[in-house]
């Protein structure tokens, strides 16, 4: 019932299941204010989509969800276009490296492993940090102190780097190097993991660049649109792993789910939301780790020959 054949993945999936997956991830991303790619790609892998196709298709789905998000942010004048442009330049460079790296790994039959490993390390670290931080915040609230423990920005080593540029919207005068490097890392992650990379970019912009918090989210989404779009085109061109039918189903579900997620998120307190998200992120990391560590029932696998082994 409602089976849909995916022309690139060459498998048949349940339409309702995939719409539901898109909606669930959209709901979570709306609720937590995150992109959700780091949940979507592993979930696609869990449901039997080959890892490389999950990555490329996940990136394409993020284009759709971030377009809606960026429009909302743009109307509130929350985007620093100068900073965004630098992040995009770095992002595109990182994306190129990521796509080529993934192509090489696919040919060597190691793409699935390295994608999973990177996810485990990244999600494990981010999840643990978030959990510790949110529990700390909850304790402070209970003790009667304000939940936010962050002090107003002071100048750090980042501000002593050369090539200084002015960013009027963020009211910053800093070197172009840190945004380029941050963009590069995020672009690499987008190409390699099918994530938007907001969960790296947002903290980096707040803590390293000392950008105003209200501008950080909008600028990050702005960068994500362009980098995920470039990653989509690059994966389609070099790896032929983008399934447009799957991406469309996921995006349709995601756009709808996101609306309800935003409402649900408004009912929960920030530190509770972060703790909840941290637990989910850790759960995904642990599940991926189990798949890597437990002895598989079938040790052998077959795949089409992509290039000389």
């Amino acid at each position: 019932m409602f089976q849909v054949y995916l022309p690139i993945a060459e498998i048949s999936v349940n339409l309702v299941l995939m719409l539901g997956l898109g909606a669930a991830v959209g709901f979570l991303s709306g609720m937590f204010g995150v992109g959700g790619g780091f949940l979507l790609t592993p979930f696609l892998m869990f449901s039997g989509i080959p890892p490389s196709i999950a990555v490329a298709t996940g990136a394409n789905q993020i284009v759709a969800t971030s377009v809606s998000g960026a429009l909302a942010q743009w109307r509130r004048n929350n985007i620093d276009f100068h900073m965004g442009a630098l992040l995009i330049v770095g992002g595109v460079a990182g994306a190129l490296i990521g796509v080529i790296l993934l192509k090489m790994l696919r040919e060597a039959g190691q793409a699935g492993l390295i994608i999973s490993l990177t996810y485990v390390v990244l999600l494990g670290t981010v999840g643990l940090l978030m959990l510790v931080e949110s529990i700390g915040a909850m304790r402070r609230t209970r003790a009667g102190r304000p939940a936010s423990g962050r002090k107003p920005g002071q100048h750090n080593w980042i501000h002593r780097l050369p090539l200084k540029l002015r960013f009027p919207r963020s009211r910053l005068y800093i070197s172009a190097i840190p945004p380029l490097v941050i963009g590069w890392v995020v672009g690499l992650l987008t190409a390699f993991l099918g994530v938007g990379g907001g969960f790296i970019m947002v903290p980096a912009m707040i803590y390293l660049l000392r950008m105003p918090t209200n501008i950080v989210i909008g600028t990050s989404i702005f960068q994500i649109i362009f980098v995920t779009a470039v990653v989509s085109v690059l994966h389609a061109t070099f790896n032929q792993t983008l399934d447009v039918v799957l991406a469309l189903i996921l995006a349709a579900g995601g756009v709808m789910g996101g609306q309800f997620g935003v409402k649900a998120g408004q009912k929960l307190r920030g530190e509770h939301l972060r703790a909840l998200l941290a637990v989910m992120v850790l759960a995904v990391a642990i599940r991926l780790l189990f798949d890597l560590v437990l002895k598989p029932a079938e040790l052998y696998s077959i795949s089409p020959l992509l290039a000389g082994v």
Partner: protein
């Protein structure tokens, strides 16, 4: 008198012909000939494709079976998709995690292979004939000769096991059944993950272990309609396809923005 003589002469004159006709009727009958056909010659994979069952049927012309039941004929049908190179890899434990090893390349593995017959293959004919015709999964060479090597044997059996699990390799030695004296039929289920291309359907007729007739035909499995357009675009114009995917995503995002805008 005259008439009787004439009749006799006529009869005598026709004698050789009559004899020949009589001979043709009993001791050396015409050779059996196999006729076979598929229920479909073209399979289109569209968005609702979840696999398909095809029927292989046919008959034996000049069948000499007297009674319908214990036939003296055997039929083997082989449905085969084009071969492709394939890598088989084995996971090994490295520092606590399971990692794919370098793997073995098999240059020509049929994308799909089904062998159906009336009886177990080896009861029908000699191993040699089976090997020449490529009947039975064990008789496929995957584009490289089989060796006695244990590792090789493990990899080869893994390829077969995995392909069988995906229903891309099938064997059924009870898959062809006779209906009456000369009619036979067999069904093959093509799973959803079948590769595309021109398939061959070879049907062989055996009597007493001897191949007496064969029928070779083809079957086209292609993506059709929208799926075909997408697939061709993705592989022939990948850059344009990527741009199209981005455009679709942007439009979806815009649609979402307009549909759910809160103002």
């Amino acid at each position: 008198m005259m008439r009787r003589a004439l009749l006799l002469a006529t009869l005598l004159g026709f004698m050789p012909l009559v004899a020949a006709a009589a001979q043709a009727a009993s001791p050396t009958p015409p050779k059996e000939e196999l006729q076979a056909e598929l229920s479909t010659r073209e399979i289109s994979i569209q968005s609702n494709f979840t696999g398909i069952e095809i029927l292989v049927y046919g008959s034996i012309d000049f069948s000499q079976t007297k009674a319908p039941d214990p036939g003296n004929y055997d039929v083997i049908a082989i449905i085969r998709a084009p071969s492709q190179p394939l890598v088989a890899r084995r996971k090994e434990r490295v520092a606590g995690i399971w990692v794919n090893s370098r793997g073995e390349v098999y240059p020509a593995v049929p994308g799909f292979y089904a062998a159906l017959s009336t009886r177990p293959f080896r009861a029908i004919t000699s191993d040699e004939t089976l090997k020449t015709l490529g009947v039975g999964i064990v008789n496929l060479d995957f584009g490289r000769p089989a060796t006695e090597d244990l590792r090789e044997a493990q990899y080869r059996s893994a390829v077969i096991r995995l392909k069988q699990k995906q229903q891309l390799f099938q064997e059924d030695d009870d898959g062809v059944s006779f209906v009456g004296r000369s009619l036979f039929r067999a069904t093959v289920a093509l799973p959803v993950n079948v590769p595309t291309g021109r398939y061959t359907a070879d049907v062989y007729l055996f009597r007493d272990g001897e191949l007496i007739s064969k029928n070779l035909s083809t079957l086209e499995v292609n993506k059709a309609g929208f799926e075909r357009t997408i697939y061709l675009l993705a592989f022939n114009q990948p850059f344009a396809y990527g741009l199209l995917a981005v455009l679709v995503a942007v439009l979806t995002g815009l649609a979402g923005w307009f549909a759910f805008r809160r103002e």
